[in-house]
Structure formats: structure tokens, C-alpha cells
């Protein structure tokens, strides 16, 4: 029995004997990815149950279980965890780490020790965020956007939350740097940029955003801290500052951050669709370049968050115009994916139904985003449940759903085991139905004027909140069931072969499942496209010992 990366590892310092210390000190990209996933999903569930608590409170008008202040802290906690601790590290931290080096035929990322340090920086950020729960006046009540001057005046623990966000931002920058260098320097010989799998393209575009946009939010958070501690008037009008400046600086980062979340997710979609259609992807170059162009245009659209903030009308018009041009490359990708299925051989395995389900939910999320790009309509819908529903359709129904798709797709690669397909599909349908029941009513409530961040509401909106509540129950049941299926699969599942899906990309051409410590036995020579199928079978075959082509 050959050794896998679970049996042996390289460590940052020394050669510890204990399994625990080996995990703590590991610099292996696959182990680090797993540890990210473990921590991130722990926080994810904390935030999910915080959200459920809010839904319970909102079930009926009036204040049953929490008062306004507690509710304000609850939605801040939910937002901060989901954004900074979960979705921003997100797919890059987990699958960028585990899969990207395998896809380009590398033995690890370029800077494995930096990768280890980055993980622990992330943990430090999480600890600071957690500590803010228990120190002083409790967790911040500002919303995850920390808008000034509210964040400068409130008595809650905003500073801790800002410091945590800063440290997490630092981790994000270092991850981006590491991945950029890895993709530039460690691609297998012969693999040009246009021979890279599309997931790597997604990670590449994302890494640039992490590297270039994150410092802006870092600076903003530092300015807010300086204002709060030293009384320097930057954002607070009482000290001569400008509160709208904060919004500009905040969204210069936080809007590109949305693309930072979605681009790797689109990458996962672009892996799954050709694999389960058993044919080459339609419009490879279009998809690759649209990721790059979204990453570029994404910097220039932040102002669409400020249509009602008192910004000049000319600025609104320009931002609105540019924002529509993010929608176009995104829309083109959808057509490319569907065209890939044309005359394919569609295998409806669990990863594929997650991907197809996401086409529906993300299309709704994207289209409703266009609604609020129209300036006049946004004047009505800004800060209502319409916007909340749009955001959750795009991020939960887009990014997180595709992350789940990726978890089902790469589960056999990571664990060497297989989950129960039937049960995994039941989990999908539960979540899909629950998700739509949970968020679709919010579009209607928002259209009728239900503002976000209200802990009590006018009785007219009761019905929408009640439907949402039942949707939430179904959704969470499906979510827990899905993780249970994963758990059973990992502990009791059947052993998986190295390429269970008949996929083409390099991460499926490993000698064993799960992979050995240093991945491929030899560095392969890449003189083929990433998704070459001939009559439903992968064209490229390797001798896994020598990594020579044998087809």
C-alpha cells in the first residue's frame, strides 16, 4: 500500500512525531486546504445558526426572542463571519490550495512556508474576531460594512472587528501573491496560459484582485481605527470628516471582492460541465478571457453601491454604464456552459446537478443584480430585501453552491473515498427547494418596501417572512444532511479510483487516490488542451509512474 499525503507530510519546522503536530506544522498544500475547509465550515455553521436565530425572531412582528440591539449584533456577526471568515478565503483557500497545484502539475505552491504562515494568520484573524464576542461591550453592531460615522460612534467592539478584518485581509493578500507566483512559475512544461484548466484561470484572476484590491480596505480600516482612537477627523463629520468617503474606500475593495468570490466558482463550473458532458468545453478562450476582463472591469464599478448616498448624478451614470459591462462577460459564460452540453453525453452525477442547479440560482442572482444597476430602480430597491435576496442568490446560490459542487466533484480526490450518490442528491434537492423558498419571497417583500436590517417590521410583510422561515428550515436540514453524507462517505465510503469521473485535467492523473505527498510521480509534459475528449473518453492517458503519455 503506497503512502498518501495523509500518511506523511513536510513540516515548516522540524520533524514532529505526533500526528497532531504534523497537521499543525504541515506545509503540504492539500493538508492546508483541508484545514482551511475545517475551520471555515465551523464558522459557516455558526453564521448559519445566527441567521436562523434572526429568521425565528422575524417569524412574527414584534420582538419575541431578541431586542433591537441583539439583532443588530446578530446580523453583524452573520455578515462578518460569512464575508471575512468564510467566503473571502472561500474557494481559493480550499480548492485553490488543494487542486490548483495538482492541475498545473506542480509539487506544491511556490512558497509552501508562506502558505503555512498565511493559514495561521487567518486563524489569528479568526481568534481576534471571536474574542470581540466576549470582550467589552460585545460584538460590533455596525453591519459587516462598518459604515461611518455609525461605526465610529457605537460603543460595541468595532475596533476588534476592524483589526480582525485587517489581519484576514493580510492573509488574503499573501494567498493571492503565493498563487500568482505559483501559476506563473510552476506550470508544467508545455502548459501555456491557454492550456491551463479554467479553474486555474479563475484562481489567477482572483489572485490579482486579492493582491491589488485588498490593501485599499486595509488602509480604510486603519483610517477608521486612527479616527476612533486618536480622534483624527477623516470620516466623522463632527470632526470635519466625510462619511461618504468611507463608503467609496470600502467598496473600492468590497465590490471587486464579490468577483474574487465568484470567479473561482465559475472556474469550478467550467471544470464540471465538460467532464459530465464528456466533451470539450465550448468557447474556452472566451471563458478564460471573460474571467480576466471581469477582474479588470470589477475595479471600476464600486460606485453602484452609492446611488442613494448623495453622489453626483454624472458619477452615477458612469458607474451604472460600466456595471452593465460586467454583466455581459458573465452572461456569455452561461451560454458557453449550456452550449457545452449540446450533443454531449450528460451524466447527471451529484456534481453536475449542483452545477446545473446553480445555473438557475445564479442566473436569478445575476439578473436581479441588473435590476439594481438601473439607477432609478435602485433608488427604490436600495437597502431593501430585494437587494438582500439578490446578494444571497448570487453568493449563496452562486459561490457557495458551486463550492458544494466542487466538494462533491473533488471529494474522491481529496479523501480517496466515495459518498453515497443517492443521498447526496437528496441533500441537493432539499437545499435547492429550501433555498428558493427562503429567498425568493424576499424579492417581493423588498419590492413592496421591506428595508433590510429591521428586527421588527410592519404587519403587511409577515407572510413573506413566514415563507422564508420554512424555507430556512428545509435549507438547513439539507445542509446538515449533506455534511452527514460527506462524513459517512469519508469514514465508511467505498474506495475511489484515481479518476472516478472520467475527467481530463491533471489532478485526475495521479498514481494513487488519495494523492501521494508530492503529487505526480514526475512532472508531466503538457502538449494537450485541458478538456480533450474523443467519443466520450479522455484523449490523454498517462503511465502514472513515468508520467509519459501512452495514448
Amino acid at each position: 500500500m503506497s503512502k498518501s499525503y495523509f500518511d506523511e507530510t513536510h513540516c515548516a519546522i522540524g520533524h514532529p512525531k505526533s500526528t497532531f503536530m504534523q497537521w499543525m506544522l504541515t506545509i503540504d498544500h492539500k493538508r492546508i486546504g483541508i484545514m482551511y475547509a475545517a475551520v471555515m465550515f465551523t464558522f459557516f455553521f455558526v453564521a448559519v445558526f445566527t441567521a436562523l436565530a434572526m429568521r425565528i425572531e422575524l417569524f412574527a412582528p414584534g420582538g419575541q426572542y431578541m431586542d433591537g440591539d441583539t439583532f443588530n449584533q446578530a446580523f453583524t456577526l452573520h455578515g462578518v463571519i460569512m464575508i471575512f471568515l468564510f467566503i473571502i478565503p472561500g474557494i481559493p483557500a480550499v480548492f485553490g490550495n488543494i487542486v490548483m497545484p495538482l492541475m498545473i502539475g506542480a509539487k506544491d505552491v511556490s512558497f509552501p512556508r508562506l502558505n503555512w504562515f498565511t493559514f495561521w494568520l487567518y486563524i489569528a484573524g479568526c481568534c481576534i474576531a471571536l474574542a470581540s464576542l466576549f470582550i467589552g461591550e460585545g460584538v460590533a453592531d455596525t453591519g459587516w460594512t462598518f459604515y461611518a460615522p455609525y461605526s465610529l460612534n457605537t460603543g460595541t467592539n468595532v475596533i476588534m472587528a476592524l483589526v480582525a478584518a485587517f489581519v484576514l485581509g493580510m492573509a488574503s493578500i499573501l494567498t493571492g501573491l503565493n498563487f500568482l507566483v505559483t501559476i506563473h512559475r510552476l506550470r508544467a512544461p508545455g502548459m501555456t496560459f491557454f492550456k491551463m484548466p479554467l479553474f486555474v484561470w479563475g484562481i489567477y484572476a482572483t489572485a490579482w484582485i486579492q493582491l491589488l484590491a485588498t490593501p485599499v480596505v486595509g488602509i480604510t480600516l486603519i483610517l477608521a481605527i486612527m479616527e476612533k482612537y486618536f480622534g483624527i477627523g477623516i470620516f466623522d463629520p463632527a470632526k470635519g470628516g466625510d462619511p461618504v468617503l468611507f463608503q467609496h474606500l470600502f467598496w473600492i475593495y468590497s465590490h471587486p471582492a464579490v468577483y474574487l468570490m465568484i470567479l473561482p466558482a465559475f472556474g469550478i463550473m467550467s471544470e464540471i460541465i465538460p467532464t459530465f458532458s464528456r466533451k470539450e468545453i465550448f468557447g474556452y478562450r472566451t471563458i478564460a478571457l471573460s474571467s480576466a476582463s471581469i477582474a479588470g472591469i470589477g475595479y471600476l464599478v464600486w460606485g453602484h453601491h452609492l446611488y442613494t448616498s448623495g453622489m453626483s448624478d454624472i458619477a452615477k451614470t458612469v458607474f451604472s454604464f460600466l456595471t452593465f459591462f460586467v454583466a455581459i462577460p458573465t452572461g456569455v459564460k452561461f451560454y458557453d456552459w449550456v452550449a457545452t452540453m449540446y450533443k454531449g453525453k450528460i451524466v447527471l452525477s451529484t456534481p453536475m446537478i449542483w452545477a446545473l442547479g446553480t445555473i438557475i440560482t445564479f442566473a436569478i442572482g445575476g439578473i436581479t443584480g441588473i435590476t439594481i444597476t438601473m439607477i432609478g430602480l435602485d433608488i427604490h430597491l436600495q437597502d431593501t430585501y430585494y437587494t438582500v435576496a439578490h446578494f444571497h442568490y448570487a453568493i449563496l446560490g452562486g459561490v457557495v453552491f458551486l463550492m458544494f459542487a466542487g466538494m462533491h466533484y473533488w471529494f474522491p480526490l481529496v479523501t480517496g473515498k466515495m459518498y453515497n450518490e443517492t443521498k447526496a442528491k437528496i441533500a441537493f434537492y432539499l437545499q435547492f427547494v429550501g433555498f428558493n423558498l427562503l429567498w425568493f419571497p424576499m424579492f417581493i417583500a423588498g419590492y413592496y418596501g421591506m428595508p433590510r436590517r429591521y428586527f421588527d417590521y410592519l404587519p403587511e410583510f409577515e407572510i413573506y417572512h413566514q415563507i422564508s422561515f420554512f424555507g430556512a428550515l428545509i435549507f438547513i436540514a439539507g445542509l446538515i444532511y449533506m455534511f452527514w453524507v460527506f462524513f459517512k462517505g469519508w469514514t465508511k465510503g467505498e474506495a475511489a479510483t484515481p479518476n472516478p469521473w472520467n475527467a481530463t485535467t491533471l489532478e485526475w492523473h495521479l498514481p494513487t487516490s488519495p494523492p501521494p505527498l508530492e503529487n505526480h510521480s514526475k512532472v508531466p509534459y503538457v502538449d494537450f488542451d485541458p478538456y480533450e475528449y474523443h467519443q466520450g473518453e479522455p484523449v490523454v492517458k498517462f503511465n502514472y509512474e513515468t508520467m509519459q503519455r501512452i495514448d
Binding site: A60, P61, Q64, G68, N72, T142, P149, G155, P237, A238, V244, R278, F282, G283, Y284, Y307, T308, G310, D313, S320, F321, F324, A327, I328, G331, V332, Y335, V338, A339, M341, Y342, K343, G344, I346, L348, L356, I359, A363, I367, T371, T373, M374, G376, L377, I379, H380, Q382, D383, Y448, G449, P451, R453, F455, D456, L458, P459, E460, F461, Q535, G536
Partner: protein, 333 residues
């Protein structure tokens, strides 16, 4: 579509027809675009399902220039329509009518109430209306036994008349947003700045106003109401004497002032904990009211031992508010 929210009708203001057209045009075009993705997806997933397709029948199409141009150009045309209608509706909201042909009303949003100040009427009287929302009464299970209410505090305006709202917030307050769902309009109210919006109501009735920008504890209760009256009824009220101004339920007790001015972020009052500044618990027995009011308006004048000048900003409060606040610090009421 049924009308659930109070006053949410399709003809409440001059904006509504254009707004609803832009919205539904966008929705129907979007539904068509959505179907153009989802219908082929379901069809292909069914038509080319694995057990129906032999391996040698699998296609190899990876490019189709005409199709690709089509599905790039049609969405571009669609979004340019969206852009156009987004822009014209914005212009409608943002092009203020001439002030000479409008009633200009000053609006102040502060934690957590809206205040309106009218121009002086013929008798020289200035109507000032405003107040907090009376929260719903709930029983011990949290069930609402009596719905909340704005009482008679409202923005009273005549029908078919341009109303310009000049909005601001006190400089030491936070951002709010004046949102009238029935008129499809909102604009942020920023401390230290004046922002404007306008409307022309077409139907007599009562319309809800909500705060849409998160502003703290009672954000969810920062309501107001717009009462649209017949023109002559409005004139009669407007030209009336001071006694006729609806008084509202403009509650401003010391506790509210303490919260609204953000005192609590640096001074605890229920405990002895020292935050940034000293605790104010039992402060009334240590200092007289003159010292306390100076400490609010000119904090660096006489700083207690162990603390430093230059930390606390000076607060500008009206004399009545200041007295109320000092009394709260002294007595807890």
C-alpha cells in the same frame, strides 16, 4: 399583483407609472434572457442524457461564431435599454422642480425620528412637526397586542403639488435614509450635509416612510408618515395658528438623548466600568448641574483627575436638551 403595504399603489405619485414601466420591462426582458439559458439547459440534459447517447454520437462543437455574436450582441442591446431606462428614471427623481413652484420643507433625520420644518405661513408661524414612532405593545410572549403608530405626527402635504425635501442630520448623528416605498423614492440623509429629493403625490392618502440606512438600536422603528391632503384642506391647516400644528409624540427624554449623542460609547452609566472616559454612575452626587452641563458643551474646561483633555468632543445641544440630559445624568430619569 395585490397591494399589501399601506399606500403601496401604482399611482400614488407622478413617479410611479414610469418606475413601474421600467421595472416590469426589465423583468420581462430578463425572464426571456433567463429562459434562453435555462430552457436549453433542461432540454439538453434530457435529450442527451447518458443512457440515450452512444459514445460515437457525441458532438465536438467548440465554436460557432454566429451564435457567439448573437448571444453577446442581444444582451448588450438589452442592457443598453436597461441603462437608458435606469437613467431616465434617475433624472426624473434627481431633477428638482423650481423652488418657486414647490413647497420646500426641511427634514431632519436623527436617531430615531424624523422632524419637518415648514416655511413660515402668512401669520409668520413656522410649523414644526416630528416625532418618534410609538412602538407596538407586546405581551409577555412577544406577541403584538397593539400595533405601533405614528399618531398624528406626519409630513402633511397637498395633493398634485411639488414638494422638495431638504434633508440633513445633526453633525454628531449617523447616516439615515428617507424612504417612501409608495413613491419608489429614497435618498440618504448625511450628517453635516444637505441632500434633496422631491415628489408630487397624485392621490390623497397616508403613506409610510421608513429609514433605509442602518442607524442603530431603533432603526426598525424609525418610521414616519406622509399625509397627502386635498389642497384646500392643506391650505386651511397651513395658514392656521400655532396651536393647530399637530404636536406629534415627539418624545425626547434624557435616556434617548444619552443614546442619540453616543455618550454610552465612552461613559457607562449603569455600572462603574471605565470605558474611554469616567463612569457617570452616581455622578449627580459628586458634581453640580453647572459642572455637568459644562462638561458636555466644553469638556476640556475642567477634566477630572486621571483623564486627559482633548479626547472628548464638545457637544452642541439646545438649552432644553442639555437640561434634560444633565437631569438624566444626575437622577437617572
Amino acid at each position: 399583483m395585490s397591494n399589501t403595504l399601506e399606500g403601496f399603489s401604482s399611482s400614488a405619485s407622478t413617479f410611479n407609472a414610469d418606475m413601474d414601466f421600467a421595472f416590469w420591462m426589465h423583468i420581462w426582458v430578463s425572464v426571456a434572457l433567463f429562459l434562453s439559458v435555462v430552457v436549453p439547459m433542461f432540454y439538453f440534459a434530457w435529450k442527451y442524457r447518458a443512457d440515450k447517447v452512444k459514445n460515437e454520437e457525441i458532438g465536438t462543437l467548440t465554436h460557432h461564431t454566429a451564435l457567439e455574436i448573437t448571444w453577446t450582441v442581444i444582451p448588450i442591446i438589452a442592457v443598453m435599454f436597461f441603462f437608458y431606462y435606469g437613467n431616465t428614471t434617475m433624472k426624473m427623481f434627481r431633477t428638482m422642480p423650481a423652488e418657486s413652484q414647490s413647497i420646500v420643507i426641511d427634514v431632519e433625520g436623527s436617531k430615531w425620528k424624523w422632524k419637518y420644518e415648514y416655511p413660515a405661513n402668512k401669520a409668520g408661524h413656522v410649523h414644526k412637526i416630528g416625532g418618534v414612532y410609538k412602538k407596538p405593545t407586546i405581551d409577555e410572549n412577544g406577541k403584538v397586542v397593539e400595533a405601533g403608530s405614528m399618531g398624528i405626527s406626519a409630513l402633511y402635504v397637498p395633493v398634485n403639488t411639488n414638494i422638495i425635501l431638504k434633508m440633513t442630520a445633526p453633525v454628531n448623528d449617523v447616516i439615515h435614509s428617507y424612504y417612501v416605498p409608495a413613491f419608489r423614492m429614497k435618498e440618504d440623509v448625511v450628517p453635516g450635509r444637505t441632500t434633496k429629493q422631491w415628489f408630487n403625490a397624485s392621490k390623497v392618502g397616508e403613506y409610510d416612510v421608513e429609514c433605509a440606512e442602518y442607524c442603530g438600536t431603533d432603526h426598525s422603528y424609525m418610521y414616519s408618515k406622509i399625509v397627502v391632503m386635498e389642497k384646500d384642506a392643506y391650505e386651511k391647516w397651513f395658514e392656521g395658528a400655532a396651536e393647530d400644528t399637530p404636536k406629534g409624540n415627539f418624545a425626547k427624554d434624557g435616556k434617548a438623548l444619552y443614546a442619540q449623542n453616543g455618550c454610552a460609547s465612552c461613559h457607562s452609566i449603569d455600572s462603574d466600568a471605565t470605558l474611554v472616559g469616567p463612569s457617570l454612575k452616581g455622578i449627580g452626587s459628586k458634581y453640580d448641574s453647572q459642572y455637568l452641563s459644562d462638561a458636555v458643551t466644553n469638556p476640556d474646561k475642567d477634566v477630572p483627575e486621571g483623564f486627559y483633555p482633548g479626547i472628548m468632543p464638545a457637544f452642541k445641544l439646545s438649552p432644553e436638551d442639555l437640561a434634560t440630559l444633565v437631569k438624566y445624568m444626575e437622577t437617572g430619569k
